[in-house]
Amino acid sequence: MSIKLTVNGDTRELDIDPQMPLLWAIRDHLQLTGTKFGCGMALCGACTVHIDGQATRSCVTPVAAVQGKQITTIEGLSTAAGHAVQGAWIGLDVPQCGYCQSGQVMSAAALLAGNPKPSDADIDAAMAGNICRCATYVRIRAAIHQAAQTLASGAPATA
């Protein structure tokens, strides 16, 4: 069946099962591999993308449900918050194995877009759905605070 997806501004028509999770459409059919598979049950956050700006677990989102919506993956992340987050991630050397970090970055960017000055508790609440087995959590907190400062200062963030 034909499914029309708008990912990172490009609209593509795919002949796929309407029940296919967005994750596999993005990865296997659009070959955008920055979005990761971790659990398939919306338990780990590795597959996080933005749908109309909202952080969403693509592994449990059927493609039929997101036709006509703006889907953004890590490859297309271009918001000020997104760049500030990525700049802080690189500056503080957050990633270790790095596999979960696309999802972490997408969740963090969505958090800052809605809450430009989150507390530690805000960060914990917003990021608790993203598992990192390397436990980079201390640096994730620090990087989100740093990104918030970058955004507040109005300085251009570079990733």
Partner: protein
């Protein structure tokens, strides 16, 4: 089965080495650690130099580094990058001796090849990443590699400029001569340097002059790619025509396929093939979704006659009985522990239970295989590079040298990708073989496959009796009951001595404290659940019982836990150094605030050549444990990349805390009870301590491990803190304070 693989690997090494030695102008070849294995050998195609007029613009290519005309220096990394930072640590060693600038450094994975890329900590005959050995075994090798390339650049510049080599300076990637007012980049000199003879002797730097090694903040070479989704993992490999496979595996460990009915699966759109392989039945689809749907529609009949059908409750009951039986091997025997215990002034007893644990790396096991009649190519986050090569070869019926291993960054491993059977790599190779190499195939384990798939940290039971004599001396008797990880694998011959598997019972109190009277013994139950090394291996459970019992002895003696330990560590100066530093930075000497439910605890443990001490501060509220602060001190020899070391300590603490608070795999009637992260819970950000301080003990010793040693001390430090806060002893993992309170009452 296992031994066949060893022989294959050994045969391959023997067959390849002599011809390559001749061809590549081996200057010297030794197989022991620290003596400069395969230093300075020119790679094929570069050994004779590029020749001709264009020679000056070529690369300088050597086994461990390549300097390109574009002025990049690429370190060829023989180890897997799985987050532990080898893609930064190993380049730092090369860059230091080369006097490169950090900005010009790059890194890529080495092919699977021994002895060239063998792990020198393991005798050099196998290429593998494990045991926290990457930096330690590469230290001398890569210093020499960097110094050799530097000497060749200098020699080339001296010749080109007509000046004495001794007057040439190298700094930040620039070679210069003040008198002749000449300077050149590495890239400009690389082609000329490649024509210089490889020096047989090089001078290494005085560590006091290091500029890159030890730099507080040396940016990770992979941070940008990993923050922007650009890092490629095995699961991201996309080959033309590639299909995706999932495997239906036995419902119980040890079950075998009798027959299968693929008619419903094959009728589904997108399902391409259904094939039997030695480890189950594979469903191949045009994408992951099709393969998964196909597997759901597959029906397999299993022979479970030889399967493990016991549950963990039953197993633990058996372990408790074994701990009281006579059947055991002696691990450590010192003095007369029975007499010392009989005449002791104070005596404490402890029974400890540790569950099976899944590694659960974030990237589920994934591998890609492309097979043709003469060649097999594998893409994976290979941790046992040459073992994986031999196992893939055996699976497809080729010789190991016909198998190309492409090692990609792994999305975590914690030991899971290192297994003597190369389970997931053997599977993908078997699928390629069964489908006749018609298409490249990518195998993905789902999270359920991962959690239920075995190769867990072994279930363990410890029984300890410890005492303080009237003379103040400590006596310690311990029985450990747990499966062996290495008996029955190729590692048995290398590592098992007198029937003792050091990966089951190493790091006891008898080894890490000065004890006159000690007896440590081990009973090995036969269980059909496959087990494996799990970040820090035996130290996860051995450090726990040791550090909790030592704390209880201190308590029984009415002594401060740090002072009590220091008095028992006279023969262990590095333990003393780390413990004192952690205690000092934690403010141990100042009284801890007497607030209800708050406490602090300490633990110290040596593993993989490094000593780590941790002080944990906790708050206990309604039986929920919150770890507020951890102060960690590590002695890992010379700190090559301090910020990576700090990251590894943070990571080890988080990984250990995950097991302390949540980690548990249980079985009922041989079926694994947990399937995904809702049942196999792991540490999330809200449980990560707000403060983790890491302090590095200054050292001039060669570097030792950092990937694993941060894990062992955290669980006992937290248990000791909870005891200080509540008086409740936690001896069963994961911690269940309410249950412990009931048992205590």
């Amino acid at each position: 089965m296992y031994f066949r693989h060893t022989e294959v690997a050994a045969a391959s090494a023997a067959a390849v080495a002599p011809s390559e030695m001749t061809r590549r102008q081996f200057l010297r070849l030794t197989t022991l650690a620290g003596s400069g294995l395969t230093l300075g050998i020119l790679m094929p195609g570069c050994g004779t130099g590029p020749g001709g007029a264009g020679a000056a613009s070529g690369p300088l290519a050597m086994p461990f580094l390549r300097i390109a005309p574009d002025n990049t220096v690429t370190v060829i990394c023989k180890h897997l990058e799985a987050g532990q930072g080898v893609w930064t640590g190993l380049p730092a060693i090369v860059a230091e001796e080369l006097d490169a600038s950090w900005e010009q450094m790059r890194v890529e994975s080495a092919p699977a090849r021994v002895p060239m890329y063998g792990n020198l900590a393991m005798g050099g005959k196998v290429q593998l990443t494990g045991g926290s050995t990457a930096v330690a075994n590469s230290w001398q090798q890569l210093r020499e590699a960097g110094a050799t390339a530097r000497a060749m650049l200098v020699a080339a510049a001296a010749k080109a400029w007509g000046v004495p080599a001794g007057e040439i300076k190298v700094s930040e990637g620039v070679v210069s001569h003040a008198g002749a007012a000449r300077k050149a980049t590495f890239g400009e000199l690389a082609g000329l340097a490649a024509k210089e003879p490889v020096p047989t002797q090089v001078t290494l730097k005085d560590p006091g002059t290091f500029k890159i090694i030890g730099r507080e903040k040396l940016p990770r070479l992979d941070a940008r790619a990993k923050s922007t989704g650009k890092q490629q993992f095995a699961i991201d490999v996309m080959l033309p025509g590639m299909m995706t496979a999932v495997v239906m595996r036995p419902p119980r460990f040890g079950a075998k396929v009798i027959s299968f009915d693929a008619s419903k699966a094959k009728a589904l759109p997108g399902v391409v093939d259904v094939v039997q392989i030695p480890r189950g039945v594979a469903v191949v689809g045009r994408d992951m979704w099709s393969a998964r749907k196909g597997r759901e529609a597959l029906s397999v009949t299993w022979d479970e006659s030889g399967a493990e059908k016991r549950g963990t409750a039953e197993l633990m009951k058996q372990y408790r009985a074994l701990a009281r039986g006579k059947e055991a091997v002696t691990v450590v025997q010192a003095g007369d522990v029975e007499a010392a215990l009989a005449h002791a002034a104070k005596r404490v007893e402890g029974e400890f239970e540790f569950p099976y644990l899944a590694h659960a790396p974030m990237e589920p096991l994934t591998a890609v295989c492309s097979l043709s009649p003469e060649k097999c190519e594998i893409w994976a986050g290979c941790q046992f590079h040459t073992v994986d090569q031999a196992n893939a070869a055996a699976a497809v019926g080729l010789k190991p040298e016909q198998v190309t291993i492409n090692t990609l960054a792994a999305g975590g491993t914690f030991g899971r990708r290192a297994n003597p059977e190369s389970d997931y790599i053997s599977e993908v190779a078997s699928i390629a073989k069964a489908t006749g190499g018609k298409y490249p195939v990518r195998l993905i384990w789902t999270r359920e496959d991962d959690i239920t798939g075995g190769r867990y940290r072994p279930l363990n039971y410890h029984r300890v009796t410890a005492a303080i004599g009237k003379d103040g001396k400590v006596a310690y008797r311990q029985r450990v009951v747990g499966q062996s990880i290495i008996i029955g694998t190729p590692f048995e011959a290398m590592m098992v001595k007198n029937g003792v598997d050091p990966t089951a019972v190493g790091g006891s109190a008898a080894e890490q404290y000065d004890l006159a009277d000690a007896h440590i013994s081990w009973s090995q139950p036969q269980v059909g659940v496959p087990v494996l090394w799990w970040r820090s291996v035996e130290n996860t459970h051995m450090a726990f019982s040791k550090e909790v019992m030592i704390d209880e002895l201190a308590h029984a003696a009415g002594q401060d836990p740090v002072a009590f330990r220091l008095a028992l560590l006279g023969k262990h100066p590095r333990h003393i150094g780390a413990l004192k530093l952690a205690a000092e930075k934690a403010g141990w000497d100042a009284p801890f605030p007497k607030e209800k439910g708050r406490g602090r605890g300490v633990a110290v443990h040596e593993s993989f050549g490094s000593v780590v001490a941790q002080v944990a501060e906790v708050t206990v509220k309604a039986d929920k444990i919150t770890v507020d602060r951890v102060v960690c001190a590590v002695d890992c020899g010379i700190a090559v990349t301090p910020d990576v070391i700090r990251a590894q300590m943070q990571s080890g603490i988080g990984y250990g805390l995950s097991a302390a608070l949540y980690g548990k795999i249980t079985l009922t009637d041989g079926h694994v009870d947990q399937t995904n992260f809702h049942q196999y819970q792991v540490l999330r950000i809200n449980d990560m301590p707000r403060v983790i301080e890491v302090h590095i003990v200054p050292s001039t010793n060669p570097p030792s491990g950092v990937g694993e040693p941060g894990t062992p001390p955290i669980a006992p430090a937290v248990a000791n803190a909870v005891r200080a806060a509540t008086g409740i002893r936690l001896h069963t993992l994961p911690f269940d304070l309410a249950a412990a309170r009931r048992a205590h009452a």
